[in-house]
């Protein structure tokens, strides 16, 4: 009987200490040299931390924070606990919940950091049906059972001899034995922890996910570039030649055969006299006197370099355009 009771009480003391020591440290984190403590409120850090776990958080210089550390960080009026996955310039950190697919969308500044998680207590087990049964239901049932047994003992009808023996045995009867007190302590701490999310502020949940939708645009050619060669390269303003000849090729999928030769103009003003498409090359001829008159009108003189534009249309209305530079002499 003595040994049984010793074993029973030792077991209860161990359970008590497992509950009470973390709870004490949680309540008074300075016992561990830490600044604060939080209850984990979500599974975003699972499997490292589960909701209900206690974390003891110690203030840490940002230089002492390394990738892989778990930090508790202020975010608005709330705090959350996530792991460091990236360090930037020493003062900015990228955090990620282990259970989240992507890192947190916001970067954390050094000033937001409450500290590094130095100890975790797996109190999440209290929230499992077994944990709940062991710290709330079982202690309550045992205490109630014991009291029922006491009532039964005191109200049982007995003959005189039995009564005398019962009284003698219970002379030093105490209502609250060691085991009842220990059970009551387990019950109180357990119930308080289970109610904690309703009572205290914790390290709040931070689930996030990031997805990306993409789109791609490209412009076509609405003025098709043409490679233009204007002959002669040097035009004498006193020249008596009949034509200025232009060779043009189109370097896109547009077909030179679709060019409307009548639409080809030089600098937007001089219309082609004649044109034809020969294979992959457009050849047009402009009246040289018209070109010279235009150049003189534009004020070009001896030695000037002139860039002339040759443009025109394809049968579907799309324009093409190209430039070449010639030298004017007089």
């Amino acid at each position: 009987m003595k040994i049984q009771s010793l074993i029973k009480n030792t077991a209860l003391v161990v359970i008590c200490l497992l509950l009470v020591i973390p709870t004490l440290i949680y309540g008074f984190p300075f016992l561990m040299g830490a600044g604060s403590s939080y209850t984990v409120m979500s599974g975003s850090m699972s499997p490292a931390l589960y909701p209900g776990d206690l974390v003891i958080v110690k203030e840490t210089e940002s230089t002492d924070i390394n990738i892989g550390d778990i930090l508790t960080v202020r975010s608005g009026e709330l705090a959350f606990t996530h792991r460091v996955v990236e360090k930037r310039e020493g003062t900015l950190f990228r955090l990620k919940g282990d259970a989240n697919e992507d890192p947190d969308p916001t970067l954390v500044e050094a000033s937001q950091i409450i500290g590094k998680v130095i100890i975790t207590f797996p109190f999440s087990h209290l929230y499992t049906p077994y944990g709940f049964a062991s710290v709330v239901l079982a202690p309550a049932a045992l205490i109630i059972g014991k009291q029922m047994y006491t009532i039964h003992q005191f109200t049982k009808r007995r003959n005189k001899r039995d009564t005398l023996r019962f009284r003698r045995k219970n002379r030093r009867f105490t209502m609250l034995g060691t085991s009842t007190l220990l059970l009551a302590l387990i019950f109180m701490v357990g119930t308080t922890r289970i109610m904690a999310p309703h009572l205290f502020s914790g390290s709040s949940s931070y689930f996030s996910d990031t997805e990306t939708g993409r789109s791609f645009f490209s412009t076509g050619y609405w003025i098709i570039p043409a490679v233009v060669d204007i002959k002669p390269d040097t035009l004498n303003l006193k020249s008596q030649g009949q034509y200025v000849t232009v060779n043009a090729t189109i370097e896109t999928e547009y077909d030179e055969n679709d060019i409307i030769t009548e639409s080809v103009v030089l600098d937007g003003v001089i219309h082609a006299e004649w044109g034809e498409v020969d294979g992959t090359r457009l050849m047009v001829k402009f009246d040289r006197t018209e070109v010279i008159a235009y150049l003189i009108e534009e004020g070009y003189g001896d030695g000037d370099e002139v860039t002339l534009t040759v443009s025109g249309k394809f049968t579907d209305g799309v324009k093409f355009s190209g430039e070449d530079t010639i030298t004017v002499i007089n």
């Binding site: 916001t106 929230y127 205490i143 209502m175 609250l176 949940s205 076509g220």
Partner: protein, 239 residues
């Protein structure tokens, strides 16, 4: 009173306290383990989104051409409601990477891509037209007098004061405000309602036009953009 009677009374008292305590504890346990609110989630909830639309491309655009819509759908494939859904529009190169220079042809081209319509589909609220509405991006970004361009929309999230934050995972253009955000009182969704409940699908449709004033130098150029959607539970967690 006899000692026996006091003991019985005390026992009944202890039993009552324990029973009351156990019932409070049980209630707390049930409500705690089943609750998923903004501040805590004690059950094994998960948050996950999936883009259900592919990359959409439009080629051979010419000035004045209207094109679109670009439709992007996001499904909440997790077990948890997404209370807030925010988006970042980022101009990228063809590979989806941010440009390192803002004079790259792809960046310049976005000045000429006008957004003609912006529609969002939010479960329970249906299709909502955002451009032209009082809280539209057109008016948030500019006064609404001229068409909103892709560049302006991307630039509305531009942060220059924090160069270290500038080149974020979100790319060359970074959003810091939550002006494009839906859920719990933001945008279309009333207070207390999630933007995207579990297994719901959010959709977005954007229509465009290549500006009539697109210069010839923009011929044969390409640009790309991506929209990075972020789902969170609390608005303080939005980027």
């Amino acid at each position: 009173m006899k000692k026996g009677n006091i003991t019985i009374l005390a026992s009944i008292f202890i039993m009552t306290i324990m029973a009351a305590g156990a019932s409070v504890g049980t209630q707390a346990w049930f409500s705690t383990t089943n609750e998923t609110t903004g501040t805590y989630t004690m059950n094994a909830a998960t948050m996950s989104m999936t883009v259900t639309s592919g990359t959409i491309s439009f080629d051979n655009l010419v000035p004045g051409e209207a094109f679109g819509p670009v439709a992007i759908a996001i499904e909440n494939t997790g077990s948890m409601d997404i209370n807030y859904l925010g988006g970042d529009l980022i101009i990228t190169d063809a590979n989806g990477n941010p440009y390192s220079s803002d004079t790259a042809s792809g960046v310049l081209l976005t000045n000429y891509i006008e957004i003609t319509s912006w529609k969002e589909y939010i479960p329970n609220y249906g299709w909502q037209e955002s451009i032209g509405a009082p809280q539209s991006y057109e008016t948030l970004v500019k006064d609404g007098s001229a068409p909103l361009t892709l560049m302006e929309l991307a630039k509305s999230h531009w942060v220059s004061s924090e160069p270290s934050v500038k080149k974020d995972q979100f790319g060359y253009w970074v959003k810091t405000t939550t002006d494009w955000c839906t859920g719990d009182g933001y945008d279309i969704v009333p207070e207390g309602q999630p933007a995207l409940a579990a297994s719901g699908t959010y959709q977005m449709k954007l229509s465009f036009k290549l500006s009539d004033d697109t210069p010839n130098s923009m011929q044969g150029k390409s640009c790309s953009f991506k929209i990075v959607f972020t789902g969170v539970q609390q608005n303080s967690q939005l980027p």
